[in-house]
Amino acid sequence: MSVNTWLATGNFNTTYRQEQKTFVTSLDRSIFTLFLLTLFAWPVFFPISQKYMLVVDNILVAIVAVMGLNLLLGFAGLISIGHAAFIGIGAYTVASFSRTLGDSHVIVTHFWPVLILLAGFMGALFGAIVGLPALRLKHLYLAIATLSFQMIFQWVINFMSFFNQGQTIYVGRVFWFTGEIGRNQHYMFWYYIILTLVVLMGFGVRNLLKTRYGRSLVAVRDNDRAADAMGMNPGLTKVYAFALAGFFAGVAGALHAYLYRGIGFESFTLHQSVGYLAMAIVGGLGTLNGSFWGPVAIKYLDIQMEHLAEFAGHYMVQASNLSTALKPLSFGLVIVLFLMFEPRGIANWWRIAKSYTKLWPFRY
């Protein structure tokens, strides 16, 4: 790339190092840094209500989960209809500590970063196990195998008294260097923690995709036999993709457990799995920023539909059915419309917007 980006006629690299760079220009880097700073600083300057902080936290947790799903589905091309179950594995890892040691044991409340990491590894382990059928199964058959895992997970949690038969297992309030995190700081505290994790994991994914491990995922997605011929091991790659997705899901699960201060099996059902799939698709498969757009869009839609339903309910009292039917209706419509008209998801709009501003005032 030429030294002066304004004179460049296109993107071209002269060394491999240049291609590996995360930020093409220093302007990019500064904009990104500024953006990150804003993300970290805004809650201090514009405090919002607990409810909206919970919504924001919830979106961030979903982002962690969807990043994993996107790696699996978007990059490795493997369909998983059991993502919520992997998230559940992470959450129940925390839960089993809480259950055996007591919910305010020092390990649960002080060593939570360790538990979150551990939950990630548990997720990865189960991901790898569930990924084993991927050695032989493909496409729809694989999708149904993950569906089976989802069902078996639900049954096990519901059945075992160690997991309180799926009823809530509480997790105590955590401690930071400043002491116990009380109710008023809870959502704010977790905002920072989860945001930090999202940034770290985002960079992780970004960099992974530039290594052979990331590229082998894409190669296997595009044609696993061709990848085999090129010396990759498609079977192993698939299992490893599942483990990777499981890791993200496990971390998300542990975060969910701490954020909601309790784990109940209703948060990890097939319905939720479908929700994560929708987020990944609406965001844009096979892109990193799609993992951020999807959860934001779907959760935003959810909340706005509630508002609309209430709005309608006030004027048409008899039509309470109408207002409540809006949520599933809009959820389905959004998925279908995106797939029909914008299969590359919101990430594509972002790409268009970016290239438009880059070249402004000139057009292609």
Partner: protein, 297 residues
């Protein structure tokens, strides 16, 4: 011993109802390679249309049954026309997700009606006692269900083997480009596949609705319940659906009959099909009767 036979008979009867419910999935997959996650919703819709026609409009139940089959026939056809035709050639995940989105839309539409959150049952039109043979009993509803299943599956098998349209559907499932080159309209075949699937879904909905009563949650759950059945049978085999349906019915009944209450286990009938499915898939990745596709680079 009669307990054992009762389990066998119940398993076969329940299994054949599964087969009927699974038939729609197979029909769609067979021609267009789409797994329909909205099938449960179509099953529920079929049952509700029949109910609406008999109870609210006053059509005799058998006519209503036929009418609802015809209505879902066109309903499913239009669903294919509106939503799925644009997705021909898209990756499989897109198509799966469209049907999931579709399921959600139909959910929303059904919640607009009283059927979404109220309970109903069909008026009784069959004798309420059961046929009994040496301690083994079977209800009239189940018997009629069994008959309709056999009839429909027989009809479909004949249709695919002998009729011109059926043969063209098979041709499309075999090779789309090849089919097109000999003058078969592929989109029309897809539409027809969905339509016949809708028809069989309505039949399944009526039979299940007659057994469980009309509750939306219960009915649409069958769309997911039958997935192990189709996968086990191989997604594109009608015979596979029948055999797998009966196997699953038997597994469920035997798990419930012999496992539950022993070894401290409960509710194994729900989870056993999935476990067996996973095990079988490890050895036969394309199900029992599925076609093993040869992939080329």
């Amino acid at each position: 011993m009669s307990y054992f036979f009762q389990i066998v008979v119940s398993g076969i009867v329940v299994g054949s109802i599964y087969a009927l419910a699974a038939l729609g999935l197979v029909l769609v997959y067979k021609s267009s390679r789409v797994a329909n996650f909205a099938h449960g919703q179509i099953i529920a819709a079929g049952a509700f249309i029949t109910f609406f026609l008999t109870v609210r409009v006053g059509v005799p139940i058998f006519l209503a049954f036929l009418a609802s089959m015809i209505i879902t026939f066109f309903l499913a056809m239009s669903v294919e026309r509106i939503f799925l035709r644009r997705l021909i050639g898209e990756p499989i995940i897109s198509v799966i997700m469209v049907t999931i989105g579709l399921a959600s839309i139909i959910d929303g539409l059904i919640y607009l009606t009283p059927f979404g959150s109220e309970n109903f049952s069909f008026p009784a039109f069959l004798p309420e006692d059961s046929l009994s043979l040496g301690g083994v009993s079977i209800s009239w509803t189940q018997l009629v269900g069994l008959m309709i299943t056999t009839l429909l599956i027989g009809a479909f098998s004949w249709f695919f083997k002998k009729s011109t349209v059926g043969i063209s559907m098979r041709a499309v499932s075999d090779d789309q480009f090849g089919a097109m080159s000999v003058g078969i309209s592929v989109p029309r075949v897809f539409g027809l596949a969905w339509a016949t699937a809708g028809l069989s879904a309505a039949a399944a909905g009526c039979i299940i609705g007659n057994i469980t009563g009309l509750n939306f949650e219960t009915l649409h759950a069958f769309g997911i319940v039958v997935f192990p059945v189709v996968i086990l049978g191989g997604l594109d085999s009608i015979l596979g659906a029948v055999v797998a349906g009966i196997i699953m019915g038997l597994i469920q009944q035997f798990a419930g009959g012999y496992l539950d209450g022993n070894f401290g286990l409960h509710g194994t009938g729900n989870v056993m099909p999935y476990i067996i499915l996973l095990i079988i898939l490890l050895f036969k990745p394309h199900g029992l009767f599925g076609i093993h596709e040869i992939e080329r680079v």
